[in-house]
Protein backbone atom coordinates (compact mmCIF):
# COMPACT_ATOMS: atom_id res chain seq x y z
CA UNK A 1 0.00 0.00 0.00
CA UNK A 2 1.55 3.25 -1.11
CA UNK A 3 1.20 6.13 1.25
CA UNK A 4 1.68 9.70 0.25
CA UNK A 5 3.23 12.49 2.22
CA UNK A 6 2.64 16.15 1.56
CA UNK A 7 5.90 17.65 0.45
CA UNK A 8 5.18 21.12 1.76
CA UNK A 9 4.30 19.63 5.16
CA UNK A 10 7.62 17.83 5.32
CA UNK A 11 9.42 21.03 4.30
CA UNK A 12 7.64 23.02 6.98
CA UNK A 13 8.18 20.35 9.61
CA UNK A 14 11.88 20.20 8.90
CA UNK A 15 12.25 23.97 8.94
CA UNK A 16 10.29 24.23 12.17
CA UNK A 17 12.25 21.43 13.81
CA UNK A 18 15.55 23.11 13.00
CA UNK A 19 14.36 26.51 14.12
CA UNK A 20 12.91 25.11 17.36
CA UNK A 21 16.17 23.48 18.32
CA UNK A 22 18.33 26.39 17.21
CA UNK A 23 16.26 29.23 18.64
CA UNK A 24 14.35 27.73 21.53
CA UNK A 25 15.53 24.46 23.09
CA UNK A 26 19.25 24.80 22.55
CA UNK A 27 19.64 28.42 21.64
CA UNK A 28 23.28 29.57 21.56
CA UNK A 29 24.46 25.98 21.60
CA UNK A 30 24.52 25.18 17.89
CA UNK A 31 26.58 22.03 18.38
CA UNK A 32 24.16 20.52 20.85
CA UNK A 33 21.21 21.48 18.64
CA UNK A 34 22.93 19.85 15.68
CA UNK A 35 23.54 16.67 17.60
CA UNK A 36 19.92 16.48 18.70
CA UNK A 37 18.58 16.98 15.18
CA UNK A 38 21.03 14.39 13.93
CA UNK A 39 19.73 11.95 16.55
CA UNK A 40 16.16 12.42 15.32
CA UNK A 41 17.35 11.73 11.78
CA UNK A 42 19.17 8.65 13.03
CA UNK A 43 15.98 7.18 14.44
CA UNK A 44 14.07 7.93 11.25
CA UNK A 45 16.77 6.37 9.07
CA UNK A 46 16.96 3.36 11.36
CA UNK A 47 13.26 2.71 10.94
CA UNK A 48 13.15 3.45 7.21
CA UNK A 49 16.00 1.03 6.52
CA UNK A 50 13.98 -1.77 8.07
CA UNK A 51 10.96 -0.94 5.94
CA UNK A 52 12.67 -0.39 2.61
CA UNK A 53 14.83 -3.52 2.76
CA UNK A 54 11.86 -5.77 3.48
CA UNK A 55 11.54 -7.49 0.13
CA UNK A 56 15.16 -7.79 -0.87
CA UNK A 57 18.00 -10.24 -0.31
CA UNK A 58 20.63 -9.38 2.26
CA UNK A 59 23.59 -7.25 1.19
CA UNK A 60 26.89 -9.04 0.87
CA UNK A 61 29.20 -6.03 1.23
CA UNK A 62 29.34 -2.34 2.08
CA UNK A 63 29.21 -1.15 -1.52
CA UNK A 64 25.94 -2.96 -2.09
CA UNK A 65 24.40 -1.31 0.95
CA UNK A 66 25.63 2.13 -0.15
CA UNK A 67 24.22 1.53 -3.63
CA UNK A 68 20.92 0.66 -2.04
CA UNK A 69 20.99 3.99 -0.20
CA UNK A 70 21.80 5.83 -3.44
CA UNK A 71 19.12 4.18 -5.53
CA UNK A 72 16.13 2.68 -3.78
CA UNK A 73 16.35 4.46 -0.45
CA UNK A 74 16.88 7.89 -2.00
CA UNK A 75 14.06 7.27 -4.49
CA UNK A 76 11.69 6.40 -1.68
CA UNK A 77 12.59 9.45 0.37
CA UNK A 78 13.34 12.08 -2.28
CA UNK A 79 11.75 10.65 -5.46
CA UNK A 80 15.11 10.72 -7.21
CA UNK A 81 18.37 8.83 -7.07
CA UNK A 82 21.74 10.10 -5.95
CA UNK A 83 23.40 11.65 -9.01
CA UNK A 84 26.98 10.75 -8.37
CA UNK A 85 28.72 8.25 -6.10
CA UNK A 86 32.45 8.37 -5.51
CA UNK A 87 34.59 6.20 -3.30
CA UNK A 88 38.24 5.85 -2.43
CA UNK A 89 37.72 2.10 -1.88
CA UNK A 90 38.97 2.53 1.66
CA UNK A 91 35.72 3.18 3.43
CA UNK A 92 34.89 6.72 2.33
CA UNK A 93 31.95 7.34 0.02
CA UNK A 94 30.76 10.66 -1.39
CA UNK A 95 27.10 10.76 -2.37
CA UNK A 96 26.28 13.78 -4.48
CA UNK A 97 22.73 14.99 -5.10
CA UNK A 98 22.75 17.72 -7.77
CA UNK A 99 19.49 19.22 -6.61
CA UNK A 100 18.89 18.30 -3.02
CA UNK A 101 15.16 18.61 -2.39
CA UNK A 102 15.36 19.92 1.15
CA UNK A 103 17.61 22.83 0.18
CA UNK A 104 15.86 23.69 -3.08
CA UNK A 105 13.35 26.07 -1.54
CA UNK A 106 15.59 27.66 1.00
CA UNK A 107 16.27 31.38 0.98
CA UNK A 108 18.51 33.51 3.10
CA UNK A 109 17.12 35.58 5.96
CA UNK A 110 16.23 38.96 4.35
CA UNK A 111 17.51 40.90 7.35
CA UNK A 112 20.95 39.54 6.53
CA UNK A 113 20.59 39.97 2.80
CA UNK A 114 19.54 43.61 2.89
CA UNK A 115 22.51 44.97 4.74
CA UNK A 116 24.96 47.08 2.77
CA UNK A 117 26.99 44.78 0.67
CA UNK A 118 30.37 46.01 1.66
CA UNK A 119 32.98 43.29 1.45
CA UNK A 120 32.98 42.60 5.12
CA UNK A 121 29.25 42.19 5.75
CA UNK A 122 28.59 40.15 2.62
CA UNK A 123 31.19 37.67 3.75
CA UNK A 124 29.54 37.63 7.14
CA UNK A 125 26.10 37.15 5.56
CA UNK A 126 27.37 34.29 3.46
CA UNK A 127 28.88 32.71 6.50
CA UNK A 128 25.58 32.96 8.34
CA UNK A 129 23.67 31.49 5.41
CA UNK A 130 26.04 28.56 5.23
CA UNK A 131 25.66 28.01 8.93
CA UNK A 132 21.84 28.07 8.68
CA UNK A 133 21.93 25.61 5.81
CA UNK A 134 24.31 23.41 7.72
CA UNK A 135 21.76 23.14 10.51
CA UNK A 136 19.22 21.81 8.02
CA UNK A 137 21.61 19.13 6.86
CA UNK A 138 22.04 17.41 10.22
CA UNK A 139 18.71 15.68 9.72
CA UNK A 140 19.46 14.03 6.34
CA UNK A 141 22.95 13.13 7.61
CA UNK A 142 21.32 11.42 10.56
CA UNK A 143 18.96 9.56 8.25
CA UNK A 144 21.86 8.14 6.22
CA UNK A 145 23.80 7.21 9.34
CA UNK A 146 20.75 5.56 10.92
CA UNK A 147 19.96 3.54 7.81
CA UNK A 148 23.53 2.32 7.39
CA UNK A 149 23.91 1.52 11.10
CA UNK A 150 20.80 -0.60 10.99
CA UNK A 151 22.26 -2.45 8.01
CA UNK A 152 25.28 -3.24 10.17
CA UNK A 153 27.61 -0.49 8.91
CA UNK A 154 28.68 1.94 11.64
CA UNK A 155 29.77 5.19 10.03
CA UNK A 156 30.04 8.96 10.33
CA UNK A 157 28.20 11.19 7.87
CA UNK A 158 28.84 14.84 7.11
CA UNK A 159 27.48 17.16 4.45
CA UNK A 160 29.25 19.51 2.06
CA UNK A 161 27.46 22.42 0.36
CA UNK A 162 30.34 24.17 -1.34
CA UNK A 163 28.59 24.18 -4.74
CA UNK A 164 24.89 24.76 -4.23
CA UNK A 165 22.26 23.61 -5.03
CA UNK A 166 24.27 20.41 -5.25
CA UNK A 167 24.87 18.76 -1.92
CA UNK A 168 27.39 16.05 -1.08
CA UNK A 169 27.12 13.61 1.78
CA UNK A 170 30.40 12.15 2.90
CA UNK A 171 30.11 8.73 4.51
CA UNK A 172 33.09 7.46 6.44
CA UNK A 173 32.75 3.86 7.46
CA UNK A 174 34.30 3.03 10.80
CA UNK A 175 36.66 0.12 10.50
Amino acid sequence: MAREVSESCIDSLLTEMVSSYCNRFDANKPELAGRRIEAIGYQVGHQLAERYTMERPRFSDHLEAIKFICKDFWSEVFKKQIDNLKTNHRGTFVLQDNKFRWLARMSVDPSIENVDLSQDTSALAENKATQAMGMHLYFPCGIIRGALSNLGIPCAVSADISNLPACSFVVRIKA
Partner: protein
Protein backbone atom coordinates in the same frame (compact mmCIF):
# COMPACT_ATOMS: atom_id res chain seq x y z
CA UNK B 1 -0.49 -25.64 13.78
CA UNK B 2 2.05 -23.05 14.79
CA UNK B 3 3.51 -23.76 18.21
CA UNK B 4 5.70 -20.73 18.65
CA UNK B 5 6.98 -17.63 16.88
CA UNK B 6 9.90 -15.42 17.85
CA UNK B 7 11.69 -12.25 16.82
CA UNK B 8 15.38 -12.15 17.74
CA UNK B 9 17.47 -8.98 17.54
CA UNK B 10 20.83 -8.64 15.85
CA UNK B 11 22.74 -9.39 19.04
CA UNK B 12 20.62 -12.51 19.57
CA UNK B 13 18.50 -10.70 22.11
CA UNK B 14 14.87 -11.79 22.17
CA UNK B 15 12.54 -9.02 21.00
CA UNK B 16 9.34 -10.98 20.96
CA UNK B 17 8.56 -14.60 21.71
CA UNK B 18 5.14 -16.10 21.91
CA UNK B 19 3.91 -19.68 22.10
CA UNK B 20 0.48 -20.74 20.92
CA UNK B 21 0.03 -24.11 22.61
CA UNK B 22 -2.44 -25.09 25.28
CA UNK B 23 0.06 -27.22 27.16
CA UNK B 24 2.60 -25.73 29.53
CA UNK B 25 5.59 -26.19 27.28
CA UNK B 26 6.69 -22.60 26.75
CA UNK B 27 10.13 -23.34 28.16
CA UNK B 28 10.68 -26.21 25.78
CA UNK B 29 9.66 -24.07 22.83
CA UNK B 30 11.93 -21.26 23.93
CA UNK B 31 14.73 -23.79 24.09
CA UNK B 32 14.02 -24.88 20.52
CA UNK B 33 14.06 -21.27 19.37
CA UNK B 34 17.33 -20.73 21.21
CA UNK B 35 18.91 -23.74 19.53
CA UNK B 36 17.78 -22.56 16.12
CA UNK B 37 19.93 -19.44 16.42
CA UNK B 38 23.05 -21.55 16.00
CA UNK B 39 21.63 -23.02 12.84
CA UNK B 40 20.84 -19.54 11.51
CA UNK B 41 24.43 -18.52 12.14
CA UNK B 42 25.73 -21.61 10.41
CA UNK B 43 23.55 -20.99 7.37
CA UNK B 44 24.72 -17.41 7.09
CA UNK B 45 28.38 -18.24 7.42
CA UNK B 46 28.22 -21.13 4.96
CA UNK B 47 25.99 -19.63 2.29
CA UNK B 48 26.39 -22.63 -0.02
CA UNK B 49 23.73 -24.56 1.81
CA UNK B 50 21.27 -21.73 2.09
CA UNK B 51 19.22 -22.64 -0.94
CA UNK B 52 19.13 -21.50 -4.53
CA UNK B 53 19.22 -17.74 -4.06
CA UNK B 54 22.24 -16.31 -2.34
CA UNK B 55 21.51 -14.14 0.68
CA UNK B 56 17.80 -14.64 0.48
CA UNK B 57 15.99 -13.53 3.61
CA UNK B 58 14.05 -16.76 3.85
CA UNK B 59 16.36 -19.42 5.26
CA UNK B 60 14.01 -22.39 4.85
CA UNK B 61 13.76 -25.33 7.19
CA UNK B 62 16.41 -24.92 9.87
CA UNK B 63 16.02 -28.30 11.45
CA UNK B 64 13.31 -30.83 12.21
CA UNK B 65 12.86 -32.27 15.69
CA UNK B 66 10.66 -35.21 16.59
CA UNK B 67 7.54 -33.14 17.00
CA UNK B 68 8.36 -29.82 15.41
CA UNK B 69 9.72 -28.19 12.31
CA UNK B 70 11.69 -24.99 12.74
CA UNK B 71 11.85 -22.36 9.98
CA UNK B 72 13.99 -19.23 9.92
CA UNK B 73 14.10 -15.84 8.23
CA UNK B 74 16.89 -13.28 8.49
CA UNK B 75 16.38 -9.66 7.50
CA UNK B 76 18.87 -7.19 6.11
CA UNK B 77 19.11 -5.65 9.53
CA UNK B 78 20.12 -8.99 11.09
CA UNK B 79 16.81 -9.49 12.84
CA UNK B 80 15.79 -13.14 12.92
CA UNK B 81 12.29 -14.51 12.72
CA UNK B 82 11.75 -18.06 13.91
CA UNK B 83 8.70 -20.22 13.34
CA UNK B 84 8.10 -23.50 15.19
CA UNK B 85 5.29 -25.59 13.78
CA UNK B 86 3.81 -29.02 14.54
CA UNK B 87 2.59 -29.58 10.99
CA UNK B 88 4.63 -32.19 9.21
CA UNK B 89 3.75 -31.35 5.63
CA UNK B 90 4.14 -27.62 5.32
CA UNK B 91 4.23 -25.88 2.00
CA UNK B 92 7.20 -23.59 1.44
CA UNK B 93 4.96 -20.94 -0.08
CA UNK B 94 2.85 -20.82 3.08
CA UNK B 95 5.90 -20.32 5.25
CA UNK B 96 7.27 -17.60 2.98
CA UNK B 97 3.93 -15.87 3.04
CA UNK B 98 3.81 -16.15 6.81
CA UNK B 99 7.26 -14.61 7.24
CA UNK B 100 6.44 -11.80 4.82
CA UNK B 101 3.41 -10.80 6.83
CA UNK B 102 5.23 -11.31 10.12
CA UNK B 103 8.05 -9.06 8.91
CA UNK B 104 5.57 -6.40 7.79
CA UNK B 105 3.95 -6.46 11.23
CA UNK B 106 7.37 -6.15 12.85
CA UNK B 107 8.32 -3.19 10.65
CA UNK B 108 5.13 -1.39 11.59
CA UNK B 109 5.76 -2.11 15.26
CA UNK B 110 9.32 -0.77 15.31
CA UNK B 111 8.32 2.28 13.30
CA UNK B 112 6.36 3.41 16.31
CA UNK B 113 8.30 6.42 17.61
CA UNK B 114 7.74 5.26 21.18
CA UNK B 115 9.39 1.92 20.56
CA UNK B 116 12.98 1.83 21.80
CA UNK B 117 15.20 -0.01 19.27
CA UNK B 118 16.66 -3.21 20.71
CA UNK B 119 14.06 -3.47 23.46
CA UNK B 120 11.28 -6.02 23.65
CA UNK B 121 8.18 -5.29 21.60
CA UNK B 122 5.35 -4.76 24.04
CA UNK B 123 2.80 -3.38 21.60
CA UNK B 124 -0.64 -4.99 21.98
CA UNK B 125 -1.46 -4.20 18.37
CA UNK B 126 1.59 -6.14 17.28
CA UNK B 127 0.65 -9.13 19.46
CA UNK B 128 -2.85 -9.10 18.06
CA UNK B 129 -1.66 -8.86 14.50
CA UNK B 130 0.79 -11.71 14.99
CA UNK B 131 -1.85 -13.94 16.50
CA UNK B 132 -4.10 -13.22 13.51
CA UNK B 133 -1.29 -14.13 11.13
CA UNK B 134 -0.67 -17.31 13.11
CA UNK B 135 -4.36 -18.21 13.00
CA UNK B 136 -4.55 -17.80 9.26
CA UNK B 137 -1.37 -19.82 8.65
CA UNK B 138 -1.89 -22.72 6.26
CA UNK B 139 -5.56 -22.01 5.76
CA UNK B 140 -5.10 -21.66 2.03
CA UNK B 141 -3.59 -25.14 1.77
CA UNK B 142 -6.20 -26.71 4.04
CA UNK B 143 -9.12 -25.25 2.13
Amino acid sequence: MIACVAVIGHQNNPLYIQSFTEADDALKLHHIVHCSLDVVEERVNNPKKSGPTLNETFLGLLYPTENYKVYGYLTNTKVKFILVTTDLDVRDADVRNFFRRFHAAYVDAVSNPFHVPGKKITSKTFAERVSNIVKSFGLSSAG
